[in-house]
Symmetry: C2
Subunit: 477 residues, 2 copies
């Protein structure tokens, strides 16, 4: 027996309710709308609705229409991948996505997150800038702000460079959808698939993923927890392999938190220049310095035309806006074209909002005032967590002491498997970033990265105690 037309319609509606196109309490399309959409008669549609009503799936309200039953059991949503928790080995990519998901779960203390505490940012003022910017937005703004992006915003960024003694013209800057896009476009601009790229070891996992996606070959250069990439090791690599580009973070590196000393920066630039290797400088944390001196990027050197300096507002002002930039040196036109071919341009309203905020900030000290407060809070929180770790973790655990940013790097000792700590901690409501995320091999399997941007209080204190206890257990085997 074939299904009648009203049964087919009822089944379609039921499936829409099951997949949450309509939620409990939502009004379904009216009988008239449903007739129009389906091409069926009023009688057929009415029969379908009455069938669903008799099944308790929807309820009729006189003079109003049909509603999804409030008590209807909500079906299980698409399940997160649970392989990770069961597996002996952590797959780097799975771990990354799992940690990102854990950051969205309010019951987990997200010490594994890469994002700063979202309450640290001047959201009401950003909202005002956004509202003010869109009120003044011309219809032509969509095309006027195509790559390289909004002119006022590029000029404000260039002025901040100038204030730090770095020569970057507004015309050298391309506004992007966050630093991730800046880095990806930069990598495309200076390499072809199959090329060699020198990266840090350990490195930001986004670099590892981008290199894999572009089918590049990576040489991991030893990177010191205090002094950053080792210039001698880099030079040896450049003498041995036909390296096309180097990708590094000169300040408050992710995950180590290290900053290169000035003499190492000078040597590194000299080495890159002699070997004619382009540099992708990921510099998203440099505004977050604790001392009185902002660290100087390699972009400040005379080699600047070969340095693609990538940064964003996501870590220091406006997470979620997804606005970054690259000061691309001689690659600026190539970057513009690559962007036009991939995402076309950064979202216009948020570009205008940031241009507005920075202009006002310049007059009233708004942005700089915010940054000073942010740096102070981040320093205090990092000190509190550092102190607790020193106090509570077993003596064999060593901890970094960065001068900025919001990451601590823990070496748990060779006999501890950080992936196990990660899995066991997650089961107890604490996420951490295991060292395996930051390398293509198992070199850092005994290390952890911890996000220190969250307020020191009962939740974070408990999280640190949980971790300390787990690490002690793992050491005792």
């Amino acid at each position: 027996m074939t299904e009648s037309r009203y049964e087919t319609l009822a089944r379609t509606l039921r499936r829409q309710i099951d997949t949450q196109v309509w939620l409990p309490g939502d009004r379904l399309p009216s009988l008239r709308e449903s007739c129009k959409q389906s091409g069926l008669s009023l009688m057929t549609v009415l029969q379908a609705y009455q069938l669903l009503e008799s099944q308790g799936v929807i309820v009729a309200r006189p003079q109003s229409g049909y509603y999804v039953a409030a008590g209807l059991q909500r079906p299980v949503r698409r399940q997160p991948d649970e392989r990770l928790h069961a597996a002996e080995q952590v797959d780097v990519n799975d771990a990354i996505f799992d940690i990102l998901k854990a950051g969205q779960d309010p019951s987990v203390v997200p010490l594994g997150s890469a994002f700063p505490d979202p309450t640290l940012f001047p959201q009401p003022r950003l909202a005002r800038s956004l509202a003010s910017a869109v009120r003044r937005m011309s219809p032509h703004s969509a095309t006027a702000n195509l790559p390289p992006g909004n002119e006022e915003l590029r000029r404000s960024i260039a002025r901040r460079y100038a204030q730090n003694g770095i020569e970057v013209a507004p015309d050298e800057i391309v506004i992007t959808s966050g630093a991730m896009e800046s880095l990806g476009l930069s990598l495309q601009a200076v390499t072809e698939p199959g090329d060699w790229v020198a990266i840090e070891s350990p490195a930001f996992y986004g670099a590892l993923q981008a290199i894999e996606r572009r089918k590049l070959k990576a040489i991991a250069i030893p990177t010191d927890v205090r002094f950053g990439m080792d210039p001698d090791a880099l030079e040896k690599a450049l003498e041995t392999y036909p390296v096309k580009a180097c990708w590094l973070m000169s300040s408050f590196q992710n995950p180590l938190g290290c900053t290169m000393p000035p003499e190492n920066k000078a040597r590194l630039v000299d080495i890159l220049q002699r070997h004619q290797v382009a540099l992708i400088e990921d510099d998203v944390y440099s505004e977050l310095y604790f001392g009185s001196e902002r660290p100087v990027p390699l972009k400040a050197s005379s080699y600047r035309s070969e340095i693609l300096h990538c940064s964003s507002f996501s870590k220091c002002l406006a997470p979620g806006f997804r606005v970054g930039w690259v000061a691309a040196g001689k690659y600026v036109e190539r970057i513009e074209r690559l962007q036009l071919m991939s995402t076309l341009s950064a979202s216009v309203p948020v570009q205008l909002a940031l241009a507005d905020f920075l202009q006002k900030g310049g007059q009233q000290g708004g942005y700089d005032t915010h940054l000073r407060r942010l740096r102070r809070v981040l320093e205090q929180r990092q000190m509190a967590m550092h102190h607790a770790i020193i106090k509570e973790f077993p003596a064999q655990v060593s901890v970094s002491q960065p001068q900025g940013g919001y990451f601590l790097w823990l070496d748990l000792g060779d006999n501890v498997d950080a992936a196990r700590v990660y899995q066991r901690a997650l089961a107890k409501g604490v996420s951490v970033a295991p060292g395996t995320m930051f390398s293509a091999d198992e070199r850092f399997r005994h290390c952890l990265r911890i996000n220190t941007s969250f307020e020191w209080g009962p939740h974070t204190a408990r999280a640190i105690s949980v971790l300390a206890g787990l690490v002690a257990e793992e050491i005792q085997g």
Copy 2:
């Protein structure tokens, strides 16, 4: 003789003014700020400012500070690449970027543009939605709206699918930074470099660029100006080559404007299914239909889990917001991960604004009312331009008659070089899109695409007359 310190500082400031870090009339950093930034003494900084003042570059205003001289000649900005105008041959890529730039030049009638007339959109209402959304924005919105993107927005999109009889659950949708990103991620999800992809001929140039960037091999399938991709030719291609994916526009194709008849759609789906080939369906124009019936995408078929249906709000509601989506079938998790690795997520404020707009639109008919008006205006404008072309162009020129969208496709005749028409028209302040942009070879060198979304009036009428005259001249040789 080495330069003194004040001369060095003066030169740095002069260069900042030359590169427009500071514009005429801008106040320079105060002496005190400048001392702090440069680490130089007040006397040295004062000498530098006085040197620039004596050169007429800056002026002092008592009690206020130093300002960039208003009359200072602004230096020439980074020049657009002018090779194109001089070259005999049009390079496809250069032409594309040139046409995009021409769209930003207010003195050019941008008939070559891919963007609809920006004045066609409900900007004040979108601004209100944006202001309202950011006022209610939680600090956690940045992480809460990571891929797959804002839940309310995905549900609103799923409801529009449901209203058109297409089964797409909110969980199958990933919000992106525009359809360009949707298409790029889809291509990455279903291919590896070196794979074969079947595309239309002629095709949207974004498809050609994406395929080239991913190092894929393309098979161009003949595509009819009325009926779209030829199913027989596709079947032959799939029998001959190990094709991994097919990329097409089933409705109001760019550049032809064609829409596949229902029987061709059914055949095409059957062919793809038998050969197990994934489909990337670019469907950004389907809301812009002129008749009473919205065309049905291939996504509506039973093969939907293998169809990545890509669309956006850029052509029909909010250009410049850069918000699109992909209904990714079984590839949804892969798409999410690829997005996390490339742009992280779409900008949050604009996602929330569109969610707000669509929800209100649903209650008050706002979005649908806008769309009905937009369709009517686009149809009228296309008719006016079509009429003028028929009347003014030489008889050998044939013109398409699409039932939606805002493009006309002109076949000028085999003896006319559209690239020459393009170059000569641009010199007269009219841009068009030459056929060479839409193919990897010279197959469409006698064709043009014209954007008909602009108001019919003196400017557009003149532009059509200029083009008609140039084509007549080219025919006469």
